[in-house]
């Protein structure tokens, strides 16, 4: 009998394609994705786009209002701060410092945390118990406080603050991944895979991993938002990026006494933090919903 494929004209979408189809059908999600792309573009090409040097002090241009004000000029689009530095250029370089570093830390924490979480979920007995207790202790302290403790040992500075925040974000990943993987391992299709003779690597890679992507997306979104806030907070407190680095938190701390004379020096960095976190959350939540859309 000739093999007639009656489903030839039907293309069955793989889970990744289904996710993309669901995601791209939502306008807000797509707008947020474009905005995120724009931010990443600005982050990568900041030195080329910024009109001035972020450290260039111009004594005759102190506290210039932004361009939409009658006294402002287009040359200094967002105005200047109290040392005559262009706010727009400082924001763009600060995008690298705050957002770029947050992304970097979160991805490193993702990789380390996922590895340890999966190892913890597969292991039994003493190792599992030890990891559990260490994690529970680490998780009971809020991440910012933990970061401050690390900084007090290591000393202030951007590098030290990044290391501290990295160490503080890892336990969240470990815990979330461990719970997720542990639940998956109880499911019957994993038992079936074990009965097929799969070793642990195969079970994790092909059986568990496609089903925990939703958890990973959720954790990553929260980690990036949290990292942005922590970096800015440490910069604001003077424990993170030190002046004259144009990290957004540091910019805020330097401008607190100018809030009535030159509000743009305070509002603009704050708005940047808000908008960035908002975009990250919208994209992350939409991706998470698209990932679980087909299964429900």
């Amino acid at each position: 009998m000739p093999n007639i494929n009656i489903f030839a004209d039907e293309h069955i979408l793989s889970p990744a394609e289904q996710t993309w189809k669901h995601y791209s059908s939502q306008q807000i999600a797509m707008a947020a994705l474009w905005a995120l792309g724009f931010l990443c573009f600005l982050m990568v090409f900041a030195p080329l786009i910024a009109p001035h040097e972020p450290d260039l002090r111009q004594a005759h241009l102190l506290l210039q209002p932004p361009s939409w004000d009658e006294q402002g000029t287009v040359d200094y689009f967002f105005g200047t701060d109290d040392l005559g530095r262009d706010v727009l250029s400082r924001l763009l370089y600060g995008l690298r410092l705050t957002f770029g570093n947050a992304l970097l830390i979160s991805f490193i924490a993702l990789i380390i945390g996922t590895t340890i979480g999966i190892t913890a979920a597969i292991s039994r007995g003493l190792l599992s118990s030890t990891l559990h207790h260490i994690m529970d202790t680490a998780l009971s302290i809020p991440s910012l406080l933990l970061a401050i403790i690390f900084i007090s040992i290591l000393g202030p500075g951007l590098d030290h603050s990044l290391l501290a925040i990295l160490l503080a974000s890892i336990p969240q990943f470990i815990r979330g991944v461990y719970l997720s993987v542990y639940q998956e391992l109880q499911k019957e299709y994993i038992i079936a895979l074990k009965l097929d003779g799969a070793n642990n690597y195969r079970i994790i890679r092909y059986g568990v991993f496609p089903n925990i992507i939703e958890t990973l997306v959720n954790l990553l979104t929260r980690a990036i938002s949290s990292a942005i806030i922590d970096i800015s907070a440490l910069g604001f407190l003077g424990l993170g990026a030190q002046r004259p680095l144009s990290e957004w938190g540091t910019m805020l701390s330097g401008a607190t006494d100018l809030v009535f004379i030159a509000p743009w020096t305070v509002v603009l960095p704050g708005l940047s933090i808000l908008v960035t976190i908002f975009i990250i959350n919208v994209v992350g939540e939409s991706v998470r919903q698209s990932v679980i859309a087909g299964i429900d």
Partner: protein, 337 residues
């Protein structure tokens, strides 16, 4: 007046593969105090109908109907707040896997006490103390649980499936609803427990005059309890009538096949073939045009590519171009719907 009146209910589901019509022009009329069975294979859409009546729908469902009335309440045009009020008070629902539908972190007694509405309290204010607990114990006795202390103090995972189902029934009748929808309450249960639950539902219907819509895939179970029956296939209603009409004067080939498929193991030889309808229920993405039973029906002919209209003879409804027992229909007045 009919308690539940459904006319031309259509449910469409949006999936990544497109919009699928899961239930197509479904009709149902329930009168007060009746027990009706809704029978169909898994995938026939009967659970969807129950959920549409109850109002627990997912975001990607689109529900359209000419009429969806409960008594004098029009269920289609309610605001969410009004819907929630109707949901708990007028309609009760029990589900298949009882233990999974109870809150695992709360004791059964507490959940049952929570389900009792405030306005049922009658009496003086000094009687208010602990009245919920007493009411809960009374409900448990009503559903046939003798050892109420043990059940009240246990978590759902500690109770057997029969007890969990009884607790769920008690929670459903706590608000004295007019209609009780039972969505496959006894599937995958042991026969002894099944019989207990069915006897309980029968008692509820006879004593409290509760209308019951019993959904199941097992014709036998339904026939023990119900007065009337509706058979669904692939989202369409194929036959409906009293038990006697459907069992003894079957008109639709699908109903006949379902009746035959019930294996009577005493008559089939050991390890012999059982009677089944060939083929499988088509996937929602690939529904046949016209009569959906067409590809599997042993009596299918060329006309079956046109959807058969619903015909009604003395309260017995069926939709088939070439009905079985056709000689009974000759000479009878046939209403087309």
């Amino acid at each position: 007046m009919a308690l539940l009146d459904i006319r031309n209910l259509t449910i469409e589901i949006e999936t990544p593969q497109g919009i699928l019509k899961a239930v197509d022009r479904f009709n149902l009329t329930l009168s007060d105090g009746e027990v009706r069975g809704l029978v169909g294979e898994s995938g026939s859409g009967k659970s969807l109908v129950a959920k549409a009546i109850m109002g627990i729908t997912k975001d990607n469902w689109r529900i359209r109907a000419d009429r969806l009335r409960l008594g004098d309440i029009d269920l289609l045009n309610l605001t969410p707040v009004q819907r929630r009020r109707v949901m708990g008070k007028e309609i009760g629902m029990i589900f298949q896997d009882a233990a999974a539908h109870l809150d695992p972190s709360e004791k059964a007694g507490e959940q049952l006490a929570e389900a009792i509405p405030c306005d049922q309290f009658t009496g003086h204010f000094w009687n208010r103390f602990n009245w919920r607990k007493k009411q809960a114990i009374a409900l448990l006795h009503k559903v046939g649980v003798k050892d109420h202390k043990k059940v009240m103090n246990s978590y759902p995972f500690e109770l057997s499936e029969g007890l969990c189902q009884k607790v769920m029934i008690a929670m459903a009748i706590a608000k004295k609803p007019r209609l009780l929808i039972a969505d496959e309450p006894t599937t995958a249960m042991e026969p002894k427990t099944q019989n207990q639950i069915l006897r309980l539902l029968d008692k509820l219907n006879k004593l409290s005059h509760t209308t019951i819509l019993l959904i199941s895939h097992d014709l036998e179970t339904v026939s023990l309890l119900a007065d009337n029956m509706t058979v669904m296939y692939c989202g369409q209603m194929v036959e409906s009538g009293t038990i006697d009409q459907v069992f003894n004067h079957t008109h639709h080939p699908y109903t006949a096949a379902l009746l035959r498929a019930n294996p009577d193991f005493s008559q089939v030889p050991h390890k012999g073939r059982l009677n089944t309808l060939a083929g499988q229920v088509p996937l929602l993405h690939h529904l046949p045009i016209g009569c959906r039973l067409g590809p599997r029906c042993p009596n299918a002919q060329k006309n079956c590519v046109i959807t058969p209209p619903m015909k009604k003879v003395k309260g017995h409804m069926f939709s088939c171009h070439f009905p079985l027992n056709a000689d009974e229909l000759k000479g009878k007045k046939c209403q087309r719907k």
